[in-house]
Symmetry: C2
Protein backbone atom coordinates (compact mmCIF):
# COMPACT_ATOMS: atom_id res chain seq x y z
CA UNK A 1 0.00 0.00 0.00
CA UNK A 2 2.52 2.55 1.15
CA UNK A 3 4.83 3.26 -1.78
CA UNK A 4 8.31 4.65 -1.65
CA UNK A 5 9.13 8.13 -2.80
CA UNK A 6 12.08 10.43 -2.42
CA UNK A 7 9.91 12.72 -0.30
CA UNK A 8 8.64 10.09 2.09
CA UNK A 9 12.07 8.62 2.58
CA UNK A 10 13.48 12.07 3.27
CA UNK A 11 10.83 12.68 5.90
CA UNK A 12 11.37 9.35 7.60
CA UNK A 13 15.14 9.85 7.54
CA UNK A 14 14.88 13.32 9.05
CA UNK A 15 12.90 11.99 11.99
CA UNK A 16 15.22 9.01 12.40
CA UNK A 17 18.39 11.06 12.38
CA UNK A 18 17.05 13.75 14.70
CA UNK A 19 16.67 11.39 17.68
CA UNK A 20 14.23 13.78 19.29
CA UNK A 21 10.64 14.81 18.55
CA UNK A 22 10.45 17.26 15.63
CA UNK A 23 7.93 19.91 14.73
CA UNK A 24 6.41 19.71 11.23
CA UNK A 25 8.41 22.73 10.14
CA UNK A 26 11.62 21.18 11.48
CA UNK A 27 10.84 18.02 9.53
CA UNK A 28 10.27 20.19 6.47
CA UNK A 29 13.58 21.99 6.77
CA UNK A 30 15.61 18.85 7.46
CA UNK A 31 13.94 16.78 4.76
CA UNK A 32 14.40 19.51 2.18
CA UNK A 33 18.14 18.84 2.27
CA UNK A 34 17.31 15.46 0.77
CA UNK A 35 14.28 16.46 -1.34
CA UNK A 36 14.68 20.10 -2.35
CA UNK A 37 11.24 20.83 -3.83
CA UNK A 38 9.46 19.27 -0.86
CA UNK A 39 6.27 21.14 0.00
CA UNK A 40 4.89 21.59 3.48
CA UNK A 41 1.62 19.91 2.50
CA UNK A 42 3.53 16.77 1.61
CA UNK A 43 5.17 16.85 5.01
CA UNK A 44 1.80 16.96 6.74
CA UNK A 45 0.34 14.25 4.50
CA UNK A 46 3.28 11.96 5.13
CA UNK A 47 3.42 12.56 8.85
CA UNK A 48 -0.21 11.46 8.88
CA UNK A 49 0.51 8.46 6.65
CA UNK A 50 3.52 7.37 8.68
CA UNK A 51 1.45 7.70 11.81
CA UNK A 52 -1.32 5.56 10.32
CA UNK A 53 1.30 3.03 9.28
CA UNK A 54 2.57 2.92 12.86
CA UNK A 55 6.06 4.10 11.95
CA UNK A 56 5.83 7.42 13.69
CA UNK A 57 4.24 8.70 16.89
CA UNK A 58 2.81 12.06 17.66
CA UNK A 59 4.11 13.74 20.82
CA UNK A 60 2.29 16.69 22.21
CA UNK A 61 4.03 18.96 24.64
CA UNK A 62 1.32 21.02 26.33
CA UNK A 63 1.11 24.41 24.69
CA UNK A 64 3.15 23.45 21.63
CA UNK A 65 2.26 22.14 18.21
CA UNK A 66 2.48 18.36 17.95
CA UNK A 67 5.93 16.90 17.34
CA UNK A 68 6.80 13.60 15.67
CA UNK A 69 9.19 10.84 16.68
CA UNK A 70 9.93 7.25 15.64
CA UNK A 71 7.40 4.78 16.96
CA UNK A 72 9.88 1.98 17.66
CA UNK A 73 11.00 3.23 21.02
CA UNK A 74 10.54 1.88 24.52
CA UNK A 75 8.08 3.63 26.81
CA UNK A 76 9.36 7.07 27.67
CA UNK A 77 8.45 10.64 28.55
CA UNK A 78 9.71 14.10 27.73
CA UNK A 79 11.46 17.03 29.32
CA UNK A 80 11.01 20.50 27.92
CA UNK A 81 13.50 23.25 28.70
CA UNK A 82 11.52 26.39 29.37
CA UNK A 83 14.56 28.48 28.49
CA UNK A 84 15.72 27.21 25.10
CA UNK A 85 12.62 25.19 24.18
CA UNK A 86 14.46 21.95 23.48
CA UNK A 87 12.57 18.72 24.07
CA UNK A 88 14.51 15.76 25.45
CA UNK A 89 13.46 12.13 25.71
CA UNK A 90 13.41 10.58 29.20
CA UNK A 91 13.65 6.81 29.43
CA UNK A 92 11.99 6.65 32.81
CA UNK A 93 8.49 6.49 34.20
CA UNK A 94 7.06 6.93 37.70
CA UNK A 95 4.73 3.89 37.24
CA UNK A 96 1.80 2.97 39.50
CA UNK A 97 -0.44 5.46 37.74
CA UNK A 98 -3.44 3.15 37.93
CA UNK A 99 -3.67 4.22 41.56
CA UNK A 100 -4.55 7.75 40.44
CA UNK A 101 -7.46 6.61 38.30
CA UNK A 102 -10.91 7.23 39.81
CA UNK A 103 -13.27 4.37 40.65
CA UNK A 104 -14.99 3.00 37.57
CA UNK A 105 -12.58 4.67 35.15
CA UNK A 106 -10.26 2.71 32.91
CA UNK A 107 -6.82 4.08 32.16
CA UNK A 108 -5.18 2.95 28.93
CA UNK A 109 -2.36 5.37 28.45
CA UNK A 110 -0.57 8.30 30.04
CA UNK A 111 1.66 11.18 29.12
CA UNK A 112 4.07 12.95 31.42
CA UNK A 113 6.02 16.09 30.67
CA UNK A 114 8.64 17.63 32.94
CA UNK A 115 9.56 21.28 32.62
CA UNK A 116 12.65 23.08 33.75
CA UNK A 117 16.14 23.98 32.59
CA UNK A 118 18.39 21.68 30.61
CA UNK A 119 22.12 21.31 31.42
CA UNK A 120 23.18 24.04 29.01
CA UNK A 121 20.69 26.56 30.35
CA UNK A 122 21.42 25.65 33.97
CA UNK A 123 25.15 26.21 33.45
CA UNK A 124 24.58 29.44 31.54
CA UNK A 125 23.42 31.06 34.79
Amino acid sequence: MIRHSRQRDAIRDAITRAGRPLLPQEVHQLAQQQAPRLGIATVYRNLQALQDAGEVNQVTIPGDSPRFELAEQPHHHHFKCTQCGEVTTLYACPGKLAALTPQGYQMHRHELTLYGHCVKCTQAH
Copy 2:
Protein backbone atom coordinates in the same frame (compact mmCIF):
# COMPACT_ATOMS: atom_id res chain seq x y z
CA MET B 1 -6.07 47.69 37.23
CA ILE B 2 -8.39 44.93 36.15
CA ARG B 3 -11.82 46.49 35.94
CA HIS B 4 -15.13 44.80 36.25
CA SER B 5 -17.44 44.33 33.31
CA ARG B 6 -20.48 42.22 32.65
CA GLN B 7 -18.45 40.23 30.13
CA ARG B 8 -15.45 39.54 32.33
CA ASP B 9 -17.63 38.52 35.24
CA ALA B 10 -19.61 36.21 32.98
CA ILE B 11 -16.42 34.56 31.77
CA ARG B 12 -15.03 34.12 35.27
CA ASP B 13 -18.36 32.75 36.49
CA ALA B 14 -18.59 30.26 33.64
CA ILE B 15 -15.18 28.83 34.50
CA THR B 16 -15.97 28.81 38.21
CA ARG B 17 -19.29 27.03 37.81
CA ALA B 18 -18.01 24.46 35.33
CA GLY B 19 -15.60 22.85 37.80
CA ARG B 20 -13.60 21.42 34.95
CA PRO B 21 -11.26 22.88 32.33
CA LEU B 22 -13.19 24.59 29.53
CA LEU B 23 -12.33 25.26 25.91
CA PRO B 24 -12.57 28.89 24.74
CA GLN B 25 -15.70 28.08 22.75
CA GLU B 26 -17.28 26.40 25.78
CA VAL B 27 -16.50 29.48 27.84
CA HIS B 28 -18.09 31.55 25.09
CA GLN B 29 -21.32 29.54 25.04
CA LEU B 30 -21.67 29.41 28.81
CA ALA B 31 -20.84 33.06 29.37
CA GLN B 32 -23.27 34.16 26.67
CA GLN B 33 -26.13 33.11 28.93
CA GLN B 34 -25.02 35.90 31.21
CA ALA B 35 -23.75 38.36 28.59
CA PRO B 36 -25.72 37.79 25.37
CA ARG B 37 -23.76 39.95 22.92
CA LEU B 38 -20.43 38.52 24.09
CA GLY B 39 -18.00 38.13 21.22
CA ILE B 40 -15.40 35.40 20.92
CA ALA B 41 -12.58 37.96 20.72
CA THR B 42 -13.58 39.25 24.13
CA VAL B 43 -13.43 35.71 25.47
CA TYR B 44 -9.87 35.29 24.23
CA ARG B 45 -8.79 38.70 25.49
CA ASN B 46 -10.22 38.01 28.92
CA LEU B 47 -8.86 34.52 29.20
CA GLN B 48 -5.47 36.08 28.56
CA ALA B 49 -6.11 38.89 31.06
CA LEU B 50 -7.36 36.50 33.75
CA GLN B 51 -4.32 34.34 33.17
CA ASP B 52 -2.01 37.34 33.52
CA ALA B 53 -3.85 38.29 36.70
CA GLY B 54 -3.28 34.79 38.07
CA GLU B 55 -6.97 34.01 38.39
CA VAL B 56 -7.06 31.37 35.72
CA ASN B 57 -4.71 28.64 34.54
CA GLN B 58 -4.23 27.22 31.11
CA VAL B 59 -4.44 23.44 30.84
CA THR B 60 -3.21 21.75 27.72
CA ILE B 61 -4.32 18.24 27.00
CA PRO B 62 -1.95 16.89 24.37
CA GLY B 63 -3.57 17.18 20.96
CA ASP B 64 -6.34 19.54 22.06
CA SER B 65 -6.73 23.28 22.14
CA PRO B 66 -5.84 24.80 25.50
CA ARG B 67 -8.53 24.72 28.19
CA PHE B 68 -8.94 27.08 31.13
CA GLU B 69 -9.62 26.42 34.80
CA LEU B 70 -9.56 28.39 38.06
CA ALA B 71 -6.07 28.96 39.38
CA GLU B 72 -6.95 28.56 43.05
CA GLN B 73 -6.81 24.82 43.15
CA PRO B 74 -4.46 22.36 44.85
CA HIS B 75 -1.94 20.53 42.70
CA HIS B 76 -3.74 18.13 40.41
CA HIS B 77 -3.70 16.38 37.04
CA HIS B 78 -6.22 15.45 34.37
CA PHE B 79 -7.94 12.46 32.87
CA LYS B 80 -9.24 12.59 29.33
CA CYS B 81 -11.88 10.14 28.13
CA THR B 82 -10.87 9.05 24.66
CA GLN B 83 -14.49 8.12 23.92
CA CYS B 84 -16.53 11.20 24.84
CA GLY B 85 -13.66 13.68 25.11
CA GLU B 86 -14.53 14.90 28.61
CA VAL B 87 -11.67 16.11 30.78
CA THR B 88 -11.79 15.36 34.52
CA THR B 89 -9.66 16.76 37.32
CA LEU B 90 -7.62 14.26 39.38
CA TYR B 91 -6.55 15.33 42.84
CA ALA B 92 -3.64 12.94 42.97
CA CYS B 93 -0.02 12.86 41.87
CA PRO B 94 2.58 10.09 41.61
CA GLY B 95 5.28 12.30 43.19
CA LYS B 96 9.03 11.58 43.22
CA LEU B 97 9.42 12.93 39.72
CA ALA B 98 12.76 14.51 40.49
CA ALA B 99 14.18 11.00 40.19
CA LEU B 100 13.33 11.00 36.48
CA THR B 101 15.23 14.20 35.80
CA PRO B 102 18.61 13.72 34.07
CA GLN B 103 21.86 14.74 35.78
CA GLY B 104 22.42 18.48 35.59
CA TYR B 105 18.83 19.25 34.67
CA GLN B 106 16.52 21.22 36.93
CA MET B 107 12.87 20.31 37.04
CA HIS B 108 10.45 23.04 38.07
CA ARG B 109 7.09 21.72 37.05
CA HIS B 110 5.33 18.73 35.56
CA GLU B 111 2.14 17.79 33.80
CA LEU B 112 0.52 14.40 33.74
CA THR B 113 -2.44 13.33 31.65
CA LEU B 114 -4.17 9.97 31.87
CA TYR B 115 -6.21 8.64 28.98
CA GLY B 116 -8.92 6.01 28.98
CA HIS B 117 -12.65 5.65 29.40
CA CYS B 118 -14.71 7.50 31.98
CA VAL B 119 -17.39 5.76 34.07
CA LYS B 120 -20.17 6.54 31.62
CA CYS B 121 -18.28 5.27 28.61
CA THR B 122 -17.04 2.17 30.47
CA GLN B 123 -20.60 1.25 31.44
CA ALA B 124 -21.92 1.94 27.95
CA HIS B 125 -19.99 -1.09 26.71
